[in-house]
Subunit: 701 residues, 2 copies
C-alpha cells in the first residue's frame, strides 16, 4: 500500500469518526421549546454570518484565481496552481462551516445534558469538540493526499515528467494550496474575531453597564449576536486557524525535502507522521471521562490524560515512521520529540501566566486595588514578561532539531536537512492536534450552552455545570493557544527557508546576500517588525468600530421597543446580528488585504533579499507580540474571574470594575489580534513563496 | 590647524556659551522667600537623588573597569580601553548633573520672570534650556576630541605604531568610550524615569484621587518628590540620553571608516560635521524671541524658526565639510541631507500623532465616551499605527544614504562605504542637537516653575504663563523624541555593521554566515525581538512597585501628621524623596544589568552569528516598540489635556476620569520604558562590540 494511500485512509477514518460522534450528539433529545427557539436563532445567525463571510471572501478568491490563471496561461507557473489555491481556500471554509454546524447543534444539547449531570454534560460537549477536532485534521490530510494523488496520477499517466520536475511542481502546488488555506483562515479568524468581540463589547456596554441587566439576559437585543459570536469566532474561526497550522506545518516541511536531498520520502513522511498522530488522538479520546461531581482538578486531569496518552503513543509511533522513511537518519526522531515536548511546555507556560490558580494572575488581580490604570500597566507588563519562555523554548527547539538533523553531511545539504528537521519538529508538535483541538473546542460550546440555559431560565444548577466546563475550557484553551503560536513560529521559520530555496531555484546564477547587515535585508526586517503592529492596530480598532455600530442599534431598541424592559415585548435580535455581520465583514478586509499584499510590495521595492528580511521580521516580532497579547488578554480575563469568585472585594466592588476595564482591553488582544497574528506569520511567507518569481524579476533595488 | 583641534575649540565654545547663559539666568534675582525655600527643597532632593544614583552606578563601573583592566593586563585588549570606558561613563553623568543644577536654579527664576511677562519667562526658560543643550553637545565633542588627541599623542610620540594598528586601537577606544556612555545613560534614563513616574503616580493617587486636593498642593507630602522627578528624569535623564545619541552616532560612523577605505578622514569627518552643527545651533538660538501675549502658534513658530535656520545653515555648511574631506565623494552630502530631512519628518509625524491639534488625539479623546477600556484599546492602536511612517522614513533614509554612498567601487569596499553613509545620515540628523535639545529642555523647567508658583501661592497669571510654555514644551518634546528614536535606529544599524566588521577583523580566516536563514541568526533574532519587551515589562512594573512604596508613606503622613490637611503642619517631604530615591535606584538595576549582560550571554550560547541576529532583532523590534510606546503615551497625555481644555465634558467629567486612566498607563510608556529602549538599542551593540573577542573564542554553538 502506498504510504499516501494510508494517509488518505486515516483521513477518512477521522471524518467517519467525526460523523459518528456528530450523530451520537445529534440523537440527544431536547424537549424545552424555549431552548430550541433560542438555539435556532443562534444557529440562523451564525449560518447567515458565515455565508455572507464566504461570499465576500469568494470575491477575493475569484480575483486571485483569475490572476493565477492568467499567469499560468502565459506559461510562467504550473497550470494546476490556480486550482490548488481554490482547493486550499475551500477546505478550511468547509471545516469551519461544519464546526459551526456542530457547535450550534450541540450547544442546546449540552445545556439539556447538564440537567442530568456533569458527566453527561461533559460527554456531549466533549463529543462535539471531538467532531470539530477530527473534521479539521481529517479534511487537512484529505486535502493534501488528494492533491498528491491527482498530481501523481497526472504526471505519471497523462503527462509524464522527470522526477525532479514532478517534485518541483508538486511542491509548488502544495505551497499554493497552503497559501489558499492561509488566506481563508486569516479572513475567518479576523472576521470571526471582530464579530465575536464587537458583539460581546456591545452587549456588555449597553446591557450590563448602561441598563444594568445581567449577562445573557434575553431582554438584551445583542444577546443572540453575542452567542453567535462564540460560534463564528471561537469555533469556525479557530477551526480554520488550526486547520491552517496543521496543514502548513506539513507542507512547509515537505517543501524542503528536495533541497535536503530526501526526495519523495521527505515529502511523504510529514503526512504519515500526522496520520499516525490521528490514530493515537482517536485512541486518546476514549480516556476522557469523569465521575459525577468531580472537582475542577479531576476534570482537568481527565482531559489531560487523554492528551498525554496520545502524545506518548505518538512518540513511540513516530520512531517507527522515521525508521521506515529514513533508516539511516534517526535524528529526525529527536526533532519529533523536541517538538512534542516544546508544545507541552509552551502550553504549560501559557497556562501558568493566564490561569487564576498561579501567582501571576492573582498578583494582577491584586493590582486592581490601585485603579484601572495600574491593572492595565501590570497586565501589559505580565504579557511582555511571559514572552521569555516561549522564545527560549522555540529557540532551543530550533537549535536542537537543526543540529541533530544536520550532522554528518556535506555543507549545503546538511544545512537544508537541518531546516527540514525544524519543520519535522513542528509536525511533531501538531500531530496530536485532533485531541488537543477537541479539548479546546468544547469550551465555547459549554459557554454557549450556559448562555442558552440563562436565556431559557433553566435551573441554576445547569448554569453551574456549564460554567464549570467553560472555566475548564479556558484552561485547556491556553494549551491550545500555546500550541498554535509555538507551531506558527517553527512553521514560519521553515517557510523562510522554503522561500530562499525557491528563490534560488528560479535562477541559480544569482547570488543573494541574505546577511543581516545587507541594507535591503535590514530595511525588510524593519518593515516586517512593523507589520504585526499595524495588523493588530487595524484589527483592534475594527472591534471598536463594529462595537460602536451595534451599541447604537442596541440603544435604539431599548428606547423604541415598548415593553422590552418589562419582558412583554421581544427585542429584534436579527437586526443586531445583521449589523454586526456587515461591519465585521467590511472591517475584516483592510487588515487581510494588507497582509496579502505586503510581501508582494516589499518584493517589488526591495527584491528577494528584502523579502527574506521582511519575513524574518514578521516572524520574530509577530511571535513575541502574539504571545504578549494572548497572555495579557488571558490574564486580565482570569483576574476578573478571580475577583468575581469573591477575592479582593468580589463582584460589584470597585476592584471588580477596574478588572472589567482590563478584561475589555484584553478581549480584542486575546481573541482578535493575537491569534490572527499566528496566521499572519505563515500567510506572508506563503504569499512570498508563490509570488517569488515576481520578486526575482521585477524589483526596484 | 588640525581639524580635531577645530572640533575641540568648538566644543569649548559651546561650553563657554553655556556658562555665559548660566550666569545670565543666575543673575535674575528672586525675592519671594517662599519660592526660594521650595526651590531649595527641590534642588536638595534632586542632588541627593543624583548623588546616590551615581554612587550605585559607580559600583557597576568599578566592576566593569576592573574586568577590563584584568583583560588588558592579560594582553587581550588595548591598555587604554578601561580608561576610555570610565571617561565615557563620567561625561554624560557630568552633563546630567550640570543640567540638573541648571534646571533647579532656573525653575524659580522662570516662575519669577513669569510675573513680568511671557517674553521674559520664555527668555529665562529657553536660556536655561540652551545651557542643557550646549553642555551636552559641548561635553560630547570635548570627550571624543580629548580621547583622540591623547591616543594620537601617545601612539606617535610615546609608543609609535603603524597607521593601521593605530586606527584599530583608536576605533576600539572610541567604541569602549561609547559603551561607557551607553551604560551611564541607560542607568540615568531608567532610574530617572522610574523616579519621576513613581513620584507622579503616588502624588496623584493619594493627593488627587484619595484625599481630593489639587495638583502641586503644598500639603501633599509627595509634591516635592514629584518636582524633583521632573529634574532627575526629564532633565538629567534626557540629557544623558541625548548625550549618548549624539556621541554614539559619531563613534559608530567613525568605526566604519577603516573598512570603508576612508582612513583618518573618515574618522574625523563626523566630528567636524557635528562641530559645524554646534556653530549653527548657537546662531539659531538668537532667532528665538517672542512678543508679549503671543499666541501658542506664534511661540511655536519662534522656536521652530531657530531650529529651521540652524538646519538650513548646517545643510550648507556640511557641503563644504564633505567637499573638504571627501573631494571625490560628494555623495555623503546626500546622506547628511537625507538624515536632516528624515529627522524633521519623524518629528512632524510624532507631533501629528501626539498633539491635541490634530485628529488622532481628538478622536482618541472622543473614545473616552465609551469608557476607560476603549480609550486604552484605541490609544494602543494609535501608537501601533503611528509606527508606519517612522519605519518607512528610516527605511528610505537607510536605502538612500546607502545607495548614494556605495556607488562605483569594488564590491566589499562599496558595501562598507554605503554603511558609512548610513552613519553619516545619523550624524547629520543629530548635528543640530544643541538647539533641538534646548527647545525640548525648557519644557520641564517651565513645568517646574509652574509647580513652584502653585506651591508658593503666586498670582494665577504666573501659572497661566508657565502653563503656556509647558504645553509648548510638550509639542517640541515630540520633535525631540522623534529625533532620539530616529537617530537611534540609524546609529544602531551602523553599529551592527561595526560589530560584523570587528568580528571579522579578529580572525579573518573564519567565514561567518550572517544570513537570516542560518538558525543561530534566527534564534538570535527571536531573542533580540524579545529583549525590548522584557526590558519594558521590567521598567513598567518598577514604576508600579516604586509608586506603591511611596503611596504607603504618603498615606501614613496624611494619617499621622496632625494639622497637615489644615495647613498648620508641614509634611515630611524629605522622607518621600528618600523612599522614591531608594526604590528607583534599587529597581533600576535589574533591567540595566539584563541589557548589559544579554549580548554577552547570546555570544556565549550562539556565537558571533547569533549576536548579529540578536542585535538586528533588538534594533527593529525595539525601534517599533519604542515609537509605539512613546506615541501612545503622548497621545493619552494630550487627549486628557484636550478634555481638560473643556472638550467632551471637560475636567471632572466621567470622560475625563477615563482619560486619566489612559494617561496613567501612558506615563511609564512615554517617560520610562519607551525612551529607555532607544538607549537599549545602542547599548547592546556597544557591549557586543567590546566583548566580540569573547564571542569569537568561546561559544557553545
Amino acid at each position: 500500500m502506498s504510504p499516501v494511500f494510508f494517509v488518505f485512509l486515516i483521513a477518512l477514518i477521522a471524518l467517519v469518526f467525526a460523523v459518528f460522534l456528530f450523530n451520537k450528539v445529534y440523537k440527544y433529545s431536547v424537549n424545552n421549546e424555549k431552548m430550541i427557539s433560542i438555539a435556532k436563532a443562534i444557529r440562523r445567525g451564525a449560518k447567515a454570518y458565515l455565508i455572507r463571510q464566504y461570499k465576500s471572501v469568494s470575491v477575493f478568491f475569484a480575483i486571485v484565481f483569475l490572476i493565477l490563471l492568467f499567469v499560468s496561461f502565459s506559461g510562467h507557473i504550473n497550470k494546476f496552481l490556480p486550482f490548488s489555491f481554490l482547493l486550499g481556500g475551500f477546505l478550511p471554509a468547509l471545516s469551519g462551516f461544519i464546526g459551526m454546524k456542530t457547535a450550534t447543534m450541540a450547544n442546546l444539547r449540552t445545556a439539556s445534558a447538564a440537567e442530568s449531570g456533569l458527566n453527561e454534560c461533559l460527554n456531549v460537549a466533549f463529543s462535539a469538540g471531538n467532531v470539530v477536532g477530527f473534521i479539521v485534521v481529517g479534511f487537512g490530510l484529505l486535502g493534501i493526499s488528494v492533491l498528491f494523488f491527482f498530481l501523481k496520477f497526472w504526471y505519471t499517466s497523462v503527462e509524464v515528467l522527470s522526477n525532479d520536475v514532478f517534485t518541483q511542481n508538486l511542491i509548488m502546488n502544495m505551497l499554493t494550496f497552503g497559501m489558499g488555506v492561509s488566506c481563508m483562515s486569516l479572513f475567518a479568524r479576523v472576521g470571526g474575531g471582530i464579530f465575536t468581540k464587537a458583539a460581546d463589547v456591545a452587549a456588555d456596554l449597553v446591557g450590563k453597564v448602561e441598563i444594568g441587566i445581567p449577562e445573557d439576559d434575553p431582554r438584551n437585543p445583542a444577546v443572540i449576536a453575542d452567542n453567535v459570536g462564540d460560534n463564528v469566532g471561537d469555533i469556525a474561526g479557530m477551526g480554520a486557524d488550526l486547520y491552517e497550522s496543521y496543514v502548513n506545518a506539513i507542507i512547509s516541511t515537505a517543501s524542503l525535502a528536495a533541497a535536503a536531498g530526501l526526495g519523495m520520502n521527505g515529502i511523504i513522511a510529514p503526512m504519515v507522521l500526522s496520520a499516525v498522530g490521528i490514530i493515537f488522538s482517536v485512541i486518546g479520546t476514549f480516556f476522557v471521562k469523569t465521575k459525577e461531581d468531580a472537582s475542577q482538578k479531576t476534570l482537568l486531569r481527565s482531559l489531560r490524560s487523554g492528551t498525554w496518552i496520545s502524545s506518548g503513543l505518538v512518540a513511540i509511533g513516530s520512531f517507527f515512521v522515521i525508521r521506515g522513511f529514513f533508516p539511516s537518519n534517526l535524528s529526525f526522531f529527536c526533532a519529533v520529540i523536541s517538538g512534542l515536548i516544546a508544545g507541552m511546555i509552551v502550553g504549560f507556560v501559557t497556562e501558568y501566566f493566564t490561569s487564576g490558580t498561579y501567582s501571576p494572575v492573582i498578583n494582577l488581580a491584586k493590582t486592581s486595588e490601585t485603579g484601572a490604570g495600574t491593572i492595565i500597566i501590570n497586565g501589559i507588563s505580565l504579557g511582555m514578561s511571559s514572552t521569555v519562555w516561549p522564545v527560549i523554548i522555540i529557540g532551543a527547539t530550533v537549535l536542537i532539531s537543526f543540529l541533530v538533523s544536520s550532522g554528518g553531511l556535506s555543507s549545503n545539504l546538511s544545512f537544508s536537512r537541518g531546516l527540514y528537521g525544524v519543520g519535522i519538529s513542528a509536525v511533531g508538535m501538531l500531530s496530536t492536534l485532533g485531541i488537543t483541538l477537541a479539548t479546546d473546542a468544547f469550551g465555547p460550546i459549554a459557554d454557549n450552552a450556559g448562555g442558552i440555559a440563562e436565556m431559557a431560565k433553566m435551573d441554576s444548577k445547569v448554569r453551574k455545570r456549564t460554567d464549570a466546563l467553560d472555566s475548564l475550557g479556558n484552561t485547556t484553551a491556553a494549551t491550545g493557544k500555546g500550541f498554535a503560536i509555538a507551531s506558527a513560529g517553527l512553521t514560519s521559520l521553515t517557510l523562510i527557508a522554503a522561500y530562499v530555496t525557491q528563490a534560488r531555484a528560479i535562477n541559480p546564477s544569482i547570488i543573494y546576500d541574505f546577511s543581516v547587515i545587507n541594507p535591503s535585508v535590514l530595511v525588510g526586517l524593519f518593515l516586517g517588525a512593523m507589520l504585526p503592529f499595524i495588523f493588530c492596530a487595524l484589527t483592534m480598532s475594527a472591534v471598536g468600530t463594529a462595537a460602536m455600530s451595534m451599541v447604537h442599534e442596541v440603544r435604539r431598541q431599548f428606547k423604541s421597543i415598548i415593553g422590552l424592559m418589562e419582558g412583554t415585548a421581544e427585542p429584534d435580535y436579527e437586526t443586531c446580528v445583521d449589523i454586526c455581520t456587515k461591519s465585521s465583514i467590511r472591517l475584516m478586509i483592510a487588515p487581510s488585504i494588507i497582509a496579502v499584499l505586503s510581501p508582494i510590495l516589499v518584493g517589488f521595492f526591495l527584491g528577494v533579499t528584502g523579502v527574506a528580511g521582511f519575513l524574518a521580521g514578521v516572524t520574530v516580532t509577530g511571535f513575541v507580540l502574539a504571545v504578549m497579547m494572548s497572555n495579557s488578554g488571558g490574564a486580565w480575563d482570569n483576574a476578573k474571574k478571580y475577583i468575581e469568585a469573591g477575592n479582593f472585594g468580589g463582584k460589584g466592588s470597585e476592584n471588580h470594575k477596574c478588572a472589567v476595564v482590563g478584561d475589555t482591553v484584553g478581549d480584542p488582544f486575546k481573541d482578535t489580534s493575537g491569534p490572527a497574528v499566528n496566521i499572519l506569520l505563515k500567510l506572508t511567507s506563503m504569499v512570498a513563496i508563490v509570488s517569488v518569481g515576481l520578486a526575482v524579476t521585477f524589483h526596484l533595488i
